[in-house]
């Protein structure tokens, strides 16, 4: 039986009827048309579906949409403002922190969490911080460079 949920997504509040078993990632992609969060492994390992719920990075394939009732969800689509990329997005562009791009939305959402909690991470801390996100192009070096560069830009 469907149940009603009211949540804020990228700053806009709305109400929806969902089956309790609907995963947050399916809700975001199929019901809301937000295809930025990707489905990679769908087993809560790869992190491609990472979004922020009440400011915490979570894997949206390991959470039901109904658990987001009353909460604030931010997806990769919610980062840029007025046509201007978020500094982390900018840094991934500048540092070529992506190859195929599949892992990128999740990488950026997790990096955002990392930099909120630790604005000046060491390289080890960056690698530890993005452990929950896999890049199958294995482009980690440039991803780490991008997070370092973003930390510098955001620290100014």
């Amino acid at each position: 039986m469907k149940q009603s949920i009211t949540l804020t997504i990228n700053g806009t509040k709305s109400t929806h009827e969902v089956e309790p078993r609907l995963l947050l990632i399916h809700f975001l992609r199929d019901s809301m048309g937000l295809t930025g969060p990707h489905i990679g492994c769908e087993t809560s390992i790869c992190g491609a579906c990472t979004v922020a719920v009440d400011g915490k990075a979570v894997k949206s394939c390991a959470m039901f949409a109904i658990q987001a009732d009353g909460r604030d969800v931010v997806t990769i689509e919610g980062l840029a403002s007025n046509g201007k990329l978020h500094p982390i997005q900018d840094a991934f562009w500048e540092e070529h922190g992506l190859q195929c791009g599949y892992c990128t939305p999740g990488m950026i959402m997790t990096s955002r969490q990392l930099l909120e909690r630790n604005p000046k991470p060491s390289e080890t801390e960056i690698r530890h911080g993005i452990e929950g996100n896999l890049c199958r192009c294995t482009g980690y070096q440039n991803i780490v460079n991008a997070v370092k560069s973003a930390a510098q830009k955001m620290g100014v």
């Binding site: 990472t50 959470m63 658990q67």
Partner: protein
């Protein structure tokens, strides 16, 4: 990867939650980091999920009677980052920091992990070394059991039908006690192939207290009391000999990741590392 249909409830108080949990088809949803993947694989198919996120009081951490009392819904991230836990029970903070990845630590809870009783989870090694207690609530009242009596076997605990883990109690570490948690992780899952937690206190150069907990090695976590006895009363000069007995009498797991012999070997190596670090931190 779609779970079987279920009904969902998010009660706003404990009494209501316990009432819902009295239904045998109901299952508790805490952080969901184990349960939801299991539901997606249809290894679990509860009729009703009772989400505890709106129950007040289950996410508090407080100091009382020489112990830290930690609500079941406190997340791994909160345990690793809360100054009170880091200062008063550093072993638990260290175990929490070693779990999964940041997204898992943001959602996963202490109570959920303990109730799930995964034999390769990180907490049991530390909770056994800490001689933690688990408080359970049901419609008919509360009871508190020792962690050693709570963790019965693989995915099996002392929880009775309708009972809920509400709180975990750990001692406030006496100043000078050294602690360490060392694990060899399975790189894809982050679970412990073997994890060893050590708590060591020294007085006048002699070890007065040694508590060693082990996870991942066998179907249930355990306290290596033989190793503890070999350490207590000594200066800790012969760690290798004490750690050598860590797997004595244990039926070690064997799977595609590590054979039983290799796991026993890892247990000796990681016990040695954990004891060495705890001893170095003890004053």
């Amino acid at each position: 990867m779609i779970a079987q249909n279920f009904a969902y409830a998010a009660p706003s108080n404990l009494a209501e939650a316990l009432k819902l949990l009295a239904d045998p088809g109901a299952k508790v949803l805490a952080g969901g980091m184990s349960l939801i993947p299991m539901m997606k694989l249809r290894l679990a198919a509860p009729e009703t999920l009772v989400d505890l996120r709106r129950v007040p009081g289950l996410n508090s951490i407080r100091e009382e009677g020489g112990r830290l009392r930690i609500g079941a819904m406190v997340t791994h991230y909160e345990l690793e980052s809360t100054p009170l836990v880091r200062a008063k029970c550093p072993l638990l903070a260290e175990a929490a920091a070693n779990i999964g990845d940041v997204q898992v630590r943001n959602m996963g809870t202490l109570g959920g992990s303990v109730a799930h009783a995964d034999p390769a989870a990180d907490y049991p090694a530390s909770l056994r070394a800490l001689e933690a207690t688990v408080t359970l609530a049901s419609a008919s009242g509360e009871r508190t059991v020792a962690i050693a009596d709570f963790l019965i076997d693989t995915f099996t605990t002392a929880l009775e039908p309708g009972e809920l883990v509400v709180e975990i109690g750990v001692p406030i570490e006496a100043s000078g006690t050294g602690v360490s948690y060392k694990k060899c992780l399975q790189p894809a899952s982050g679970f412990a192939l073997v994890g060893v937690a050590a708590r060591i206190a020294k007085t006048a150069g002699k070890i007065t207290l040694a508590r060693i907990g082990v996870t991942g090695l066998s179907g249930n976590s355990y306290r290596a009391t033989g190793v503890e006895r070999k350490l207590e009363g000594t200066t800790g000069a012969d760690i290798a000999s004490a750690a050598g007995g860590i797997a004595d009498g244990i039926d070690a797991n064997s799977d595609i990741h590590a054979s039983a012999d290799y796991r026993r070997h890892l247990a000796r190596v990681y016990a040695s590392r954990a004891i060495t670090e705890a001893l170095a931190r003890a004053q």
